[in-house]
């Protein structure tokens, strides 16, 4: 499966929307059934292409949220107000609609359950999506690696997969989840309530001697800040893999 997932010519395929999940007011997940899906790795993405009636095409990349253990391809999409693709995928699309996808794509930002180094996952906003595939894969495969997630969101309403993360962390002592809310937080909030900084990173991250594997995903500035904080704290840059999404037009 892994071999099929990384080799071969990319072709566009039609996936059928089997389920829609409203994750937050602005974020939806689409579970796609793609015939002959070759399987994927946690952290990979797909390209999605929409074609208008006049033939105009728009293409975007979306991370896969479902683990390799799930035959469906779940995409979690944040609706960007001026976007060309995301308002359709996270708003207009309906169960039974068909969407053109190609993939899985990417072999750099991937994690497999056989790796037992402690794992540090750092997510900014919808950067949680490929990291969630890793967390779900970890749970489904019963992986032994210890995992810490630091997840930055604007407000509690913007936290994607909030209940599922709480449930998974409660069920597995090897997974711990730390949230920080940067814009507003509810009364009695016990998590962090500021942008990520060195103190927070020192509290959440594995000690340097554990040589952790690190995956950081989020907006460009977030990724660069998180990565620089870890390198300053003594992490080897080679332990850190990053994936940035910028203002690509959604």
């Amino acid at each position: 499966m892994a071999r099929a997932a990384v080799l071969g010519r990319l072709t566009w395929q039609l996936g059928e929307v089997a389920e829609l999940i409203q994750e937050t007011p602005r974020v939806s997940s689409l579970a796609l059934e793609v015939p002959d899906w070759p399987g994927h790795l946690a952290g990979q993405h797909v390209d999605v292409r929409l074609t208008a009636e006049d033939g105009y095409q728009a293409q975007r990349s979306y991370s896969i949220a479902s683990p390799p253990d799930d035959p469906r391809v779940i995409l979690t999409v944040e609706r960007l107000p001026d976007g060309e693709v995301s308002p359709y995928l996270a708003g207009e699309v309906r169960v039974g609609d068909k969407v053109e996808v190609r993939g899985p794509i990417g072999g750099y930002f991937v994690w497999t359950a056989g790796e037992d180094r402690p794992l540090l996952l750092v997510a900014g906003g919808s950067g949680i999506v490929p990291l969630m595939a890793m967390i779900r894969h970890h749970a489904a495969a019963g992986a032994t690696a210890r995992v810490r997630l630091l997840y930055s969101s604007r407000s509690i309403e913007d936290v994607i997969y909030r209940d599922e993360l709480a449930r998974l962390a409660a069920a597995d002592e090897r997974l711990s989840v730390s949230h920080t809310l940067t814009r507003s937080h509810p009364a009695g909030w016990e998590g962090y309530a500021r942008r990520i900084d060195g103190e927070m990173m020192a509290e959440v991250a594995w000690p340097r001697k554990d040589s952790p594997a690190v995956f950081i995903c989020g907006p460009t500035v977030f990724v660069e800040t998180a990565s620089a904080l870890l390198v300053e704290s003594g992490y080897d840059a080679g332990w850190i893999k990053t994936e940035r999404f910028g203002a690509t037009g959604g």
């Binding site: 990349s61 072999g107 460009t220 893999k241 994936e243």
Partner: protein
Amino acid sequence: MQQSDLKLDGNAIAGLLREIFTMEMTNAESTCGGCGKVHAVGRVDVYLNAPGVVVRCPACEQVLMRIVQGRGRYWIDLSGIRCLELKA
């Protein structure tokens, strides 16, 4: 929008590179022709806000690769990369 928001990384062109090279390229190691630093293609800086794709070295900002598509063809300038090492 800030300039820094426009900087992506090699993961963003993984699909395009697979289209061209018909293999997974984000794991390939590229040696910068300018500073000699080696980075995985998934790690290099990528700008899509140009008539084509511009790929730069994250260490010294030298242009590593430019890709332009049009009229059913690709034009690929690899002159900034000294070496691409990938799994056979």
